[in-house]
Symmetry: C2
Subunit: 326 residues, 2 copies
Amino acid sequence: MDKPVRSSAPLPVEINLTAAIVAVADDAPMILVAGESASGESALPSGVFDPLAHRTFEIGLRSWVQEQTGAPLGYVEQLYTFGDRGRHAQAADRDPHVVSVGYLALTRIGAGEAAIDNARFRQWYSFFPWEDRRAGKSPLIDAKILPALTKWAARDPDRLNAYGLSRTERVRMLFGDEARFNDETVLDRYQLLYESGLVEEARRDGRASPLIDEAGPLGEPMRHDHRRILATAMGRLRAKMKYRPVIFELMPPAFTLTALQRTAEAISGRRLHKQNFRRFVETSAVVEPTGEFSNRTGGRPAAMFRFRREVLQERPAPGLRVGVRG
Amino acid sequence: MDKPVRSSAPLPVEINLTAAIVAVADDAPMILVAGESASGESALPSGVFDPLAHRTFEIGLRSWVQEQTGAPLGYVEQLYTFGDRGRHAQAADRDPHVVSVGYLALTRIGAGEAAIDNARFRQWYSFFPWEDRRAGKSPLIDAKILPALTKWAARDPDRLNAYGLSRTERVRMLFGDEARFNDETVLDRYQLLYESGLVEEARRDGRASPLIDEAGPLGEPMRHDHRRILATAMGRLRAKMKYRPVIFELMPPAFTLTALQRTAEAISGRRLHKQNFRRFVETSAVVEPTGEFSNRTGGRPAAMFRFRREVLQERPAPGLRVGVRG
DNA sequence: TCAAAAGTGTTATCCTTACACCCATGT
DNA sequence: ACATGGGTGTAAGGATAACACTTTTGA
């Protein structure tokens, strides 16, 4: 059984590495996008993996990202491998099959570095406006998304998905009331909008709903399935942040606690409770004071902190529990 | 940047799907292994992905697993894609590059079905004896693993890994005291043993340590990097079980609470606290009584329960919190 | 009647959440 | 002096962990 099922010559398969490269600037999570294409759509940086040149995916990824965009990658994590036929719909039949390995990478933007070489950083909420709930539920949800999804659900109320959930239930779980909003299910929300034909990408794949014209565009589309990869990256980062200290890959070496909180809020898309956030940070000992103070914050000078690397060996899951509303 | 970096013809890359197919029988987690090879090593079922025949990886996987082993797959989840050169070390240079997509799949074993067609189920702790702490810390750890790892750490005590941890710290975190044992870091423990040259697979790759002969074999080796894939699967399942009701994919339609607890213990490798387990199951409403009773348990007849699918739409993270020691 | 496993009641402790107030600086 | 953001103390409530005991069957 370890023998290949087909014993013929190697199939014409091409491995494509696609990276969601995230940074945070001015309380906004940013994503590196390649220069816009002729169609006007943004794309994530991506390149073909050459096994002759690079020993592993990660080495290959770091190498061409560095080469092409000049962005120095810190933390890198594999997300998911997409192998659907028709991923590059227009070329599905005559061209080699493309398999895409998605990666999440974290980096820091220095001052004024928003554009580097062929790529530039864009706010990720441009592509997912409904994911930003820092100022409460996005008006887009009540004005456009819920009416359209409600109609869509009503068209086939008894159909169940693989988990036995009806359309109505899924809509309520994913876009319903504010209290039980789960910041990690970014991909599920995007998939629901795709399945119901409400995002541009669905139109391209011949799945558009008449509702898409009523509702108007929901976030900026991206080329190929890059918005799906970005959704995966957002969800993974939101989840990971809670049990691993990855957020410090996005912070400068020294920072104020408020800056740390704003970054956590930017990523999770929710407001956090100041005192509880501070208490958590303090008791979990993930940071330590540098002894310096910043007086560029507008009010009382804020103490500067740095990440305590020692927590890695002390605590099993040193993350920022982001469970407390502001 | 969305253009391929190399514009040449498709590279000779082959996509291999490898599945860790898990079931539970008699309180033992089982893994489906393909018939042993000439070398005597077990292997996970694996096959080449044919994009012409199957639209997605998952469809391809389900199809050939069903065809070759007859095992009906329930839950299926992608784990990780391995692209290291030298994965199939003996063939690295002349043969096509192989990229392996690992999958976790859950299934049920009926009575007496331990062997099906070309494959049979083996206890996963045969390959990872140190992961079974249901009867306390495995004696293997104190007798063999810790002495060998301590020597290994002493050889280069100042070397830090990518997270800034020293060898000594990693040994203590991963194999140290019982209290802070983290059941999810199966892969980290395996990688540490691999890196220190204490598992057979390292010898194959030319990384064996002289210590491997002192310590003797640590768990059964597997072909290629299949033990790494199995370690990934075990860790993922142990983690997932806590926030998604995947365990019911391994249970018969009706079961006693003790059987459920034994299954959770088998997977997590730890003993759980009876009353708290029951209270949690009860308050979380993941199960409901069928009204039947089993009197084949040896003592007082036990009430039978079934999974309540409704929790999927009620609770955001309906899993079995497995945090309570017995 | 005894072994074996099912099943329940109660309490101490810690963590989470929420409240409101004081402090130090620049303008 | 006042606006602005930094920084803290304390109490209520709920979840968690730990305790030991009763119940019902088969042998």
